[in-house]
């Protein structure tokens, strides 16, 4: 492998890892704070991607505007879903959370099939993000992938800022470590939950929208992302956003280079990584010891 190819693969790995981070951070946020295991999280990624497919003709070249519109729409969806379904799950055990969110997946997939159908659709790139730049003598790299990475980094930094530097973030962190104390201090925990859930949904959907022009949209795209995100969360440690970032990049690299070196068994690589982490640190890289 020459240097140009290596560089391209590295960029791909980082870009894929960052995208995974967006989905996984929502998952880990929802679990860390509300204690709900949400199987339907992959469906939100799928909803985001199909939203990009449906909105792209309306917005044309205003890609950023479309992303913002999508985030607002899906955050609203998350707010309603939390109120309608998830708020009943906090007192239940994990088994029932698994079941109800499994039911939601079936509903979302079927609604997708009724509304849009089961075909694979491409999503057009905005013109100003099309094209690619030269990398070395032989290789080139598409601008859109650079844009995707930058967008993910911006979101990650914003997330870090909100969680660690704002009053809302303080309440979120406090809620994660001691729910009852936060309630005792007079903070409306139900509203806080609703906001966190809406944010998690919007993060997953945003990742889906960003991914759509690269991966096209297809049935069951949510399920595969969900399971990879579980791997990310297990490696990183539940509830840790930094852990999710490190783990997502790790998974990105293992998956991308696995495809280069062991084409046929590439799907197995990240699970082997997970097995190694489980032997070494069962609580995850950044998880707290139980």
């Amino acid at each position: 492998m020459d240097f140009g190819t290596f560089l391209v693969q590295c960029l791909n790995a980082v870009q894929y890892g960052l995208l995974l981070f967006l989905v996984a951070s929502g998952l880990t946020l929802i679990f860390g704070i509300m204690g709900v295991i949400n199987l339907a999280h992959g469906s939100f990624y799928m909803i985001g991607a199909y939203l990009a497919f449906s909105l792209a003709p309306l917005f044309g070249d205003n890609f950023i505007l479309m992303l913002l519109a999508g985030v607002v729409l899906t955050a609203a969806l998350g707010y309603v879903l939390e109120w309608a379904f998830f708020s009943y799950l906090y007192q239940r055990d994990h088994l029932q959370q698994v079941l109800m969110t499994y039911g939601l997946i079936l509903v979302f997939e079927e609604l997708r099939s009724i509304l849009i159908g089961n075909d694979v659709h491409g999503v057009p790139l905005p013109a100003w993000l099309g094209g690619s730049f030269a990398l070395g003598d032989l290789m080139s790299y598409p601008w859109y992938r650079i844009f995707a990475s930058v967008a993910c980094i911006v979101v990650a930094v914003a997330l870090y800022y909100v969680v660690n530097r704002t009053r809302l973030g303080m309440m979120v962190r406090a809620g994660a470590s001691n729910r009852d104390m936060v309630r005792g201090l007079g903070i409306d925990i139900r509203r806080l939950y609703r906001i966190v859930f809406a944010a998690g949904v919007a993060l997953a959907a945003l990742a889906g929208m960003i991914a759509a022009p690269m991966s096209s949209v297809y049935p069951n795209m949510g399920a595969s992302v969900l399971i990879i995100c579980f791997v990310v969360v297990v490696i990183g440690g539940i509830g840790s956003i930094t852990g999710a970032l490190v783990a997502a990049l790790l998974v990105g690299f293992v998956d991308t280079f696995g495809k280069v070196f062991f084409a046929e068994l590439s799907g197995v690589g990240i699970y082997v990584l997970m097995a190694v982490i489980l032997i070494w640190r069962p609580e995850g890289l950044m998880g707290k010891k139980a």
Partner: protein
């Protein structure tokens, strides 16, 4: 539980054994399907209901049992006498590896890790050529044993019934044994069991491997019945469905797994049949999903819980 009710499973088995030859081909086939799924659900009941381990990757062992059967049969077929133990051993072997790793975690982690390792097995069969890729492979000759030929519909029926009775009896015995009591202790309070000096990890791993082997048994029967296997057997939808069955029936009760398997299969059949639900039949996933949500909201203890609430207790 009164005396009459504890004989109910035995009575059901006897009724099935007598009814076997009388059923129409369609009904017989349907009953065989339900019985195989019952074995699969029972094997998960050992983990979830009896030990308190929520596994979301149980379909892997089912699928591996089925694949092992077809791959080992080859073009000439094989004898039940070695195919069946082989299928169960393969499933148990993978369960040993997955269990050893995933039991290092607990709770939500355990759910995610079991799901991930099942998905790994799914990818191996889906992406590589070991099992014919995404199309799966056909079983050329169904397993035989002396005069028993799984090609024969009635033989199939009785072999599956015998396997179900065996599984049920085995789990009843486990439930009454010291081992079963230790598993129940782990479910209720793992910390205390550890403090009392029980090797908790070993007990859980043993339960995981037994459950995997029994799922492999169900996989063997499925391969022998269908004559074809494909990666969908290992898919996480299958793991979700079987979890749903035991919760639908009633958690922690053996008969709950059987009732759940029967109800789930009937429900799926009804929701996908045009004459029952009209045009909604094409969208059975939607109605099934809504049914699951309503069910979780209203019947957290399963159908058995409902039956016990309705019947006046003596």
């Amino acid at each position: 539980m009164n005396r009459l009710s504890s004989f109910l499973p035995l009575a059901c088995a006897v009724v099935l054994a007598i009814a076997g030859p009388l059923l129409s081909p369609y009904a017989g086939d349907f009953v065989v399907k339900v019985m195989i799924l019952s074995i699969f659900a029972l094997s998960l009941q050992l983990l979830v209901g009896m030990t308190g381990l929520v596994s979301l990757g149980h379909a892997a062992f089912y699928g591996i049992g089925a694949y092992a059967t077809v791959l080992a049969s080859g073009k000439d077929g094989g004898s039940i006498a070695w195919l069946l133990p082989l299928a169960m051993a393969c499933a148990a072997g993978y369960a040993l590896v997955v269990g050893a790793l995933s039991l290092r975690t607990r709770g939500v982690y355990f759910i995610m890790v079991t799901l991930a390792f099942a998905q790994m097995a799914f990818f191996v069969f889906h992406d590589t050529d070991v099992g014919g890729g995404s199309d799966g492979i056909y079983l050329y000759v169904r397993p035989v044993l002396g005069a028993l030929d799984m090609e024969n519909r009635l033989t199939q029926f009785y072999v599956v019934l015998a396997a179900l009775v065996f599984t049920y009896a085995l789990l009843v015995l486990i439930g009454r044994s010291r081992f079963g009591a230790a598993l129940a202790g782990i479910r209720v309070n793992e910390q205390r069991m550890r403090a009392a000096g029980f090797p908790v990890y070993g007990y859980k791993l043993a339960a995981f491997v037994i459950a995997g082997a029994l799922a492999g048994l169900a996989g063997f029967l499925l391969a022998a019945r269908d004559g074809v296997v494909n990666p969908e057997l290992l898919s996480w939808h299958n793991s979700g469905d079987v979890l749903l069955m035991i919760i639908l029936g009633g958690l922690g009760r053996l008969r709950g797994a059987v009732i759940g398997a029967a109800c789930f299969t009937v429900l799926k059949e009804v929701l996908a049949t045009q004459s029952f639900v009209g045009p909604l039949a094409d969208h059975w996933q939607l109605t099934l999903g809504l049914a699951i949500i309503v069910f979780v909201a209203l019947l957290p203890k399963g159908i058995i819980g409902l039956a016990e609430r309705l019947s006046p207790r003596a």
